[in-house]
Structure formats: C-alpha cells, structure tokens
C-alpha cells in the first residue's frame, strides 16, 4: 500500500468528526425499509462536498491522503448508520485499483474526479457463484474488448464507469474500465435482501480501457483491503446493534422490571459487547498491518474478516432475541443491521473462506 500514515493527526480528528456528523444526518431506518434503498444525488453531493471521497487518495491527485485505517474508520460510520453511500465502491475499491494499476495519465485524470466526487464508479470484480475473495476472473479480454458476466455490482444504476476484472488470452489478469453506455453491455438490476440494489453485468465484446495487472497478488492485496473495510462496516453495525439493544433493555419492562435487570440477559449483552470489542481489535490491527505492509498482513486480514462476520452474526441474532417479538418486525432497526451484516459476510470472502485460508497459511 502507498498510504501509510500520511494523514496529519489533527486532520484525521477533524475529518472523523465531519464524517460522523454527515453519517448521522443521513441515517434513516425508514429509507432502509425500501422499496429501493439507494444513495440519492443530494446524499452523494453532501459527502463529496465534505471531501469524503478524497480520503485515501494521494494529495498529488487532489486527495486528502490517509490509509486503509482511515478508510476503515469511514466504513465503520457507514455500518453504524446503515448508509447506502457507495463510499466502498469509489473511495476504497476504485481509488485503490486506479492508483495501483492505472497509467500515469489515467491517474492524473481520474483520481482527482473520484476525490471530488465528480465521477461515480462501480466495481465489477465478482464472478457469479464465487465469494468474491480471489482474483480468478472468468471474463475474457481479447482485442480491446471484454466478454463475460459479473455479479453483485453495487450502485451500478448510478455509476458512469465500471472497473471490470478479466483475463487475457495468455491467462494474464487485466482490469478493464468501461463506460456505462458502451455497446454490448447489458445490466440487470435486482433488489438485495436489505433493499439495496445490485446488478449483474453481461458484457458482449465491450470496448474497455485496459489497466495492466503485473501480478495477480496485487489484486489480491486490494481485495484484502476491501475485506478489511467491509469487516469494519460490520463492526460499526455491531456497535449500533449493541447500543440499540442496551437502550431497549433498559426501558422494556417484563415481570415488573426492566429486562436489563435479568442476569441472563446481562451476561448475553456482555458477550455481545466483548464480541464487538474483539472484532474492533482485529479489524484495526488488520488495517494497520496493511498500512504498514507487515509480513503477516494476509493472515491479519483473514482473522479480521472471519471474526467480524462471525461476531456480527452472533451480535445481531442476540439483539433480536433480546428485543423479542419487536425484533422480528421490519419496523425495528435490528433486522436491518442483521441483513447488512449478512451481506457484508458474503462479500470479499465469507468467514469459512477466510478460516480456510488461515489454515492454509498456517502450514
């Protein structure tokens, strides 16, 4: 990574406060309830104006600087407030990919646009039926065009450019940038369980600008950075679920006293609290390991993703149990947190995928 600690501590503090405020403003369980839970143009602009998409991009390209740890901090706010803003697609994935694989020209033209939010990008790395955690893309690059199918592309309805993973005829990995209105591209939109919209891209010889990928390991490193950012979003969702549950336990009464008085529920909430803290610790450590290029960073990433996904599930399921019948309604926030946690768990490698990688790395 090129991002180590190039963000001034004071800037970091101020920025975090800005993001927190913005995120809070755009939090709405009503919007989560559908039917289409998307980031509106106003929301996009609000984040862009505050420079949120500039995070992680080098100052020489109009960015704010900052590393994976900084991106993960924003993701945490997104998880805590259940936002639909496609920060992950743009500031995390697109910016990292372009910065790493783009030509000097492309970086100079595109990164400043990403930073100021004047372009909205989507990332199409996942092949149908995969866990999106590795770099074995089945789409084919030949001539200047890409053909193939990509699944679960987020915010594709609003994006004007896509970054697509593919292989050339020699089996070498490439990234192709394509335009929204390119001939040969068809897009099918569908609603995910949490009411966000994802899309399947079908590419039939779509003309692409090619970004060379010298080594598939480089892509893997960026998929890993994405995994840590999603895990961080899950940690944020866990923190919110814990706070909401605790508040509820203090006011909801049964048998003449607040349910939070019951020792069994107290201990369950302690377990939930520890699960959150534990996940926060591994995610922060994995982000720092990436920022500092530590030798055990791959392992740290898998620990972070597996732990956050598992803990997230435990926390959200427990939160529903403590809410009782109320937790089972669409009106209640908890279910929406559970759905976000489940979806994050299925992206950039499931807990099982990362546990398996962990055991292979161990050998």
């Amino acid at each position: 990574m090129k991002h180590e600690a190039n963000l001034d501590a004071e800037v970091r503090r101020l920025f975090a406060a800005t993001v927190e405020k913005l995120a809070k403003q755009h939090h709405s369980i009503e919007r989560c309830r559908g039917p289409r839970f998307e980031c509106s143009d106003e929301e996009w602009s609000a984040f862009a104006e505050q420079g949120v998409f500039a995070l992680g991009i080098d100052p020489e390209y109009g960015g704010l600087g900052g590393g994976i740890s900084d991106l993960a901090a924003v993701m945490r706010q997104i998880g805590y407030n259940l936002l639909a803003v496609p920060f992950f697609e743009n500031a995390v994935m697109a910016a990292l990919l372009v910065n790493r694989f783009g030509s000097a020209d492309l970086k100079e033209s595109l990164l400043p646009q990403i930073a100021e939010g004047s372009v909205r990008m989507a990332v199409a790395l996942r092949d149908p039926g995969t866990v999106g955690a590795d770099a074995n893309h089945r789409a084919q690059f030949a001539g200047d065009t890409i053909s193939g199918v990509k699944d679960q592309v987020m915010d594709a309805e609003n994006a004007s450019k896509f970054l697509v993973g593919a292989h050339d005829v020699d089996g070498k990995m490439v990234l192709g940038m394509i335009e929204r209105d390119s001939p040969g591209l068809s897009v099918q939109h569908y609603r995910l369980p949490d009411n966000r919209i994802a899309s399947r891209l079908t590419l039939d010889s779509v003309v692409a600008t090619i970004l060379a990928v010298p080594d598939p390991g480089d892509i893997q490193a960026i998929l890993d950075a994405g995994a840590v950012c999603l895990a961080s979003e899950t940690v944020g969702a866990m923190a919110a679920a814990n706070r909401i549950t605790l508040d509820y336990a203090k006011v909801r009464r049964q048998f003449g006293r607040p349910i939070g008085d019951f020792q069994v529920l107290q201990h369950r909430m302690v377990d939930m609290f520890i699960a959150e803290r534990r996940s926060r610790a591994v995610v922060d450590e994995a982000a720092a390991a990436l920022d500092n290029s530590l030798s055990d960073r791959t392992m740290a990433v898998s620990v972070a993703k597996a732990q956050a996904d598992k803990s997230g599930r435990f926390v959200a399921e427990s939160a529903i149990q403590i809410h009782g019948g109320m937790g089972l309604t669409d009106e209640c926030a908890i279910g929406h947190y559970l759905k976000r946690i489940l979806l994050n768990g299925s992206r950039h490698g499931t807990a099982a995928w990362h546990l398996n990688r962990l055991s292979l790395l161990q050998r």
Partner: protein
C-alpha cells in the same frame, strides 16, 4: 407387534398418503420455503380431515380417534418432513381441546364441528404490547353488560389474524383480582363491529403477524369458556400443547435435507461444499443434534403417556427444537453465502429477470432463516422456558 414397530408402520402409512394426496403445487411451495396462501392451508387440511386424521387426537366422542400425543406428534412430523404445510393448530390443537375439556355442552355442540372441519379459521389472542412472555400483565378488558361482554384492548403478534374468522382471547374480567386471577377465556367473532386488524410487516417481509384492536366490542356471554377468572388455567393447558407441537423435528429433517442439497449444489474452488472438511464435520454435528432431539422427543412423549406433567417436557422440547432449527437454517445461510447471498435477488425489471446462480429453493432460505428467529421467542422465549424448568424441575 412392538410399539416402535407399530409406529414405523404408521409412519409409512402417513408417508404414502402424503405422497399420493398432498397437492404438488402446495408441496413445492413448502419445499422451496415460499409463502403460502390461506387456500393452500385449508385445502390440505380438509384432505386430512376427510381421511380422519386432522382431529384424530381428539376423543372419539367429539369425532376423533383418541390418538395419544406421541402418535399425533409422529403424524405431524412425518408430514412436515415430506413437505406438508404447517397444520395451523389454532383450531384443531389449541382451542378445540380447550372447548371439549372446559366448555359447556352447548359450546361443544356449537363450535367443535366447524372447528374440526376447519370451517372456522381461529386466531390466538394472548400477547399484548406490554404482556409478551409475561401474560400476568394483560390489559385487554372485558366488562359484563347484561348477556354480553364489552371488550376493549389491543392484542399483538396475532398469527394469521388476517385470515381468521374467530379469535380466542385472554381478557381481564376482574381488574381487582391478583394479576394471574381475574383473567378469562373468551371467543370473539372478528367480524364484530369495533374489531380492527393491522398487519405487522415482519423481518422477512411477510405480513402474517397482526395487531388486533378491540374498541368496545360486544361479545355474547355465551362465548365465555369455563368460569370467569380461570382463563389462566385454560391458557396454561393450551400453552403446554403449543410448546409440545413446537418440537418440529420433521421440519428440522426437511431443512437438513435441503442443507445437504445446497451443499451439493454450491461449489467453492471447483468442489461441492459438501466435500469440504469443515462442512463435513459441521453436518455430522448437526445430524447428531437432530437425531438426539428425535430420541428426546420419543422419550418425552412416552413419559407423557405415562401421565407426566406435559409442561416441563414441553419447555425442554421447545428450547431444544428452537435452537436446532436456528442452527440448521443458519448453516443454510452460510452455505448459500458462499454463492453470494444473491439468491434472494429480486429482479427489478420483470422483462429482464436475473438468472439465478443459486440452487433451487435458495430464494426461500433467507426468509426461513429470518423468520426462524421467532422459534426462540414465541410462546414464551427460551429464557422463560429455562426459568420454568429451573423452578419446577430443579426446585430453584
């Protein structure tokens, strides 16, 4: 023939009947965890009634065959294993037995027939916003006015009330009695003026739960079951039945089969998940739990026939079965997540449907998982059941 031999033969008879008579469209919806219509339930229950099985657990004098609990349990669970819809228990298992056990001759005459034939769809009116697991806190009032009660209050979490004709409700008839006294058991026509029903959208987006509001609803006093103030006793009698049938091992077996199917149909790194070491041992663990639960159910139902108090067995089976059902559907989600959770995808443009990449039935699995959170909550949460056992069995 030994008893287990008899039951095995009966199980086979049920399976054969199910094979030949369960309508294919209904079976398919169930196996794919899709949403069923009222008509689906009623159609199948009438077929079972024709066969004499729907109320076979009732006494002969009321049209049943005096089946012991164990046989009823085997019957239901064999059905569920093979894709039968849930046998809506509100009439035939909940209120029916309350009526023939505690009702007057006139009440039996009036209500048992249509309940047995499923001409009445019943709803259960127990929970209230501030009285979930804690029924002593019931607020819905019924005030006697001549030969009527005037009912005012608010019930919640009422399953399938949107389809129901009648509700059996716990109402407070004596506000001055101790909390658990002063409660009565009343049958209320949902078409009465003053009743309104508001559906609750669930976490899995269906609207099978409801709030039922009573605004000075006039209910004939003839609809009071048993004595005023003894509703708690009848409710407990019914709750024991409710918890007993919640040991849905047939459903667990079906979900387990479906899990194996998903694992065969989903690949990671080119290999079906079912061949992966971690999945093989997880399946073995779940299978162990499932088989143990079946044995526990057999043992408990045998003890019930020997006359033991059903309440405690019921609590135990409810806890265990909830945990297992949730563990299996949690495993389904894990299996399908490897395919990306896109299985729940709902195409926005009907002209451009998304070709599913997930195995058949996957689209219902998330709904079942989300809905399944309810198993450890409804009819008294697992925590409440453990309190009951701690007190009654362990003497703590």
């Amino acid at each position: 023939m030994s008893r287990s031999g008899e039951l095995a033969e009966f199980r086979k008879e049920v399976a054969d009947f199910c094979e030949s008579r369960l309508p294919e469209d209904i079976r398919r919806k169930v196996l794919l965890n899709q949403h069923l219509e009222k008509g689906d339930f009623v159609r199948w229950m009438r077929i079972l009634h024709e066969k004499g099985w729907l109320i076979a657990h009732w006494p002969e004098e009321y049209g049943g065959k005096d089946w012991p609990r164990l046989k009823r349990w085997v019957f239901e669970n064999e059905l569920y294993r093979l894709g039968s819809p849930w046998l809506a228990p509100f009439g035939v298992t909940y209120v029916g037995p309350v009526i023939y056990t505690f009702g007057t001759e006139a009440q039996k005459k009036r209500w048992l027939g249509p309940t047995a034939r499923h001409d009445i769809w019943w709803a259960q009116g127990y929970s209230e916003p501030n009285a979930g697991s804690d029924l002593a806190n019931l607020q819905t009032r019924a005030v006697r006015d001549g030969d009527h009660y005037i009912v005012t209050g608010h019930k919640i979490w009422t399953s399938m009330a949107q389809w129901a004709d009648m509700i059996f409700a716990l109402v407070r008839t004596d506000p001055d009695a101790k909390p658990q006294h002063g409660i009565s058991f009343l049958l209320i026509d949902l078409k009465s003026p003053g009743v309104s029903i508001r559906p609750i959208k669930s976490i899995n987006l269906v609207e099978d739960l409801n709030e039922v509001f009573f605004d000075a609803v006039r209910v004939p006093a003839d609809n009071l079951i048993g004595e005023e103030g003894r509703g708690w006793t009848y409710a407990k009698f019914l709750l024991d039945n409710e918890r007993l049938i919640s040991a849905e091992v047939g459903k667990a077996q079906r979900l387990m089969e479906q899990l194996r199917f998903f694992l065969r149909e989903t690949s990671a790194g080119g290999r079906p998940l079912i061949e992966m070491p971690s999945w093989r041992s997880r399946i073995a663990e779940l299978d162990l739990r499932l088989r143990s639960l079946v044995s526990l159910c057999n043992a408990m139902f045998a003890e019930l026939e020997a006359g033991d108090d059903p309440g405690l067995s019921a609590s135990m089976l409810k806890i265990e079965s909830a945990e297992l059902l949730q563990a299996i559907s949690g495993a389904q989600i894990d299996a399908l997540s490897e395919g990306g959770l896109s299985y729940q995808a709902e195409a926005l443009d009907p002209d451009s449907p998304v070709p599913h990449v997930a195995p058949e039935g996957a689209s219902g699995a998330l709904g079942e998982y989300l809905h399944g959170r309810v198993y450890s909550i409804w009819g008294g949460s697992s925590e409440i059941q453990k309190n009951i056992i701690a007190k009654a069995v362990l003497g703590l």
